[in-house]
Amino acid sequence: MNTQSKALVPAKGHRDIRRDLLLIAEMVAPKTRLLDVGCGDGALLEYLASEKDVDGRGIEIRQAGVNACVARGLSVIQGDADNDLPDYPDAAFDYVVLSLTLQATHNPRKVLHEMLRIGHRAIVSFPNFAYWRVRMQLLLSGKMPMTAALDDPWYQTQNIHLCTIADFDDLCAKDGFVVEQRIAVDGHGKRLTNAPANWFGAQAVYLLRRR
């Protein structure tokens, strides 16, 4: 699940942390315990450790990513969201983060439940399949859309469970996840204020808790 590399725009001036990761970091309270699932090269964990004194752990599927994290002094195990979350005890973390990876899991609903079992809160980001550029491409070309966030052709994408902001809201309501905060960003990574999120949001970040 090497989907973290598909962030839209890298942030500038913030220790090289990507802008979408910065949005996540803003949701995290200082001095908490956090598990980053699909932590890539550990940029978010390192940022949170230094800026917010967060005690972080990571799970990463790629060996190169694990190596990069371990070399930064981070505690990261090789694994993935589908298989390794059941290993963690209940309420072990304040936050469990899944960044741009939910759509690539085999069982996203189960993954969400696991995240909220082992964490008091879950922070989830995903590309919005109802973003207007995606809608227009499908409508006008009749082909599977490709955007900055969805940059692989249909036959090799790892994104097997794409959804829209409206879909995700439905699942949260159905399964009893409380949406404490929702941030949608446009194609430039800029936070949307008044525009309808499900049309103009290229990505969304949710802060969830159990009811």
Binding site: V66, N67, V70, A71, R72, I77, D87
Partner: protein, 391 residues
Amino acid sequence: MSAAHPPIHSLDPIGPGHRVTLGETLPLKLDCGLDLGPFQIAYTTYGKLNADRSNAVLVCHALTGDQHVANMNPITGKPGWWVTMVGPGKVIDTDRFFVICSNVLGGCMGSSGPKEIDPSTGKPYGLGFPVITIRDMVNAQAMLIDHLGIQQLFCVIGGSMGGMQVLQWAASYPERVFAAVPIACAAKHSAQNIAFHEVGRQAIYADPEWSKGGYFDLNTIPRAGLAVARMAAHITYLSEAALHRKFGRNLQNRERITYGFETEFQVESYLLHQGSTFVERFDANSYLYITRAMDYFDLASQAGGVLANVFQGSKTRFCGVSFTSDWLFPTSENKDIVRALNAAAANVSFVEINTDKGHDAFLLDEPEMFSTLQGFIDGCAEQRGLNGSRA
């Protein structure tokens, strides 16, 4: 070497390094209930201990290893058993760290074990040596570390039975282990692994030369039994893919099969060689004691059956490594350790290395393992404030 022990028992030269007598005032309390003391530990060191004694790395050897981790083995004349990992500029950099490797209690390279002289009888212990455990080995090592004046080890590292010792160190002496690297191991010896060990032991018992462990008195060695034990065990250290890659069904020095019982296949010849060279360097009774120690290993049993409780409150940084083709200590068993460490909210990293080389991969040239562990050691050294002293 005294006249009572003629040259047939050629294991005596312990080679470079040191031998220290421990437990003279306070004996070592063994798990079996007996006291052992005084006893000897043979060990080697490499590199220099820094001024605040914070750069010591303890390397723990596996079942048939010894203290000669990074120097030429005095018996085989071959390079040390882990020169891929330990040495100048290696992951365990002897220009940077003070590296210690000791022969385990019960071993046959100079530490007290069944081959050594029982001071109470003046003859080799044989089966009179008390049955020891992994925890006994580690407690003996801790006495050695005390003797060396080291309060906290920067790192304890080892594979297979060495990994068991790493886990026991972290469990028994959490405040004395800054970083722990258990490789290709498990928190308990599985039924299958005990079964393989029992095959090896039965092969030794079945050799009449073993003489119920009293072969030293008879000036013999149970060569055949120990060789068969080694052959059976050696298969478990490899993988089907590795055996196929190395030997396939290739015939040994012949064009076609001969319908007989001479060494027909190359893989047979290879195993025979493994067996016959092993008996030149290893003591059969030691093999019994050390395999038994591994069989008894069940770390969770030391904490009411819950492995996570063993590591509760531990501040040690862990980095586990497993190998995809290791069926002796498979990834699933290595991950049981990771799971327990996570449940105890410990600092744990873990990586599974893709290789077809089986259990023995930890001893071989595995660049991915080296790069992961290099990163881990560097990160820990940074946290321990050791990078300033880098050569």
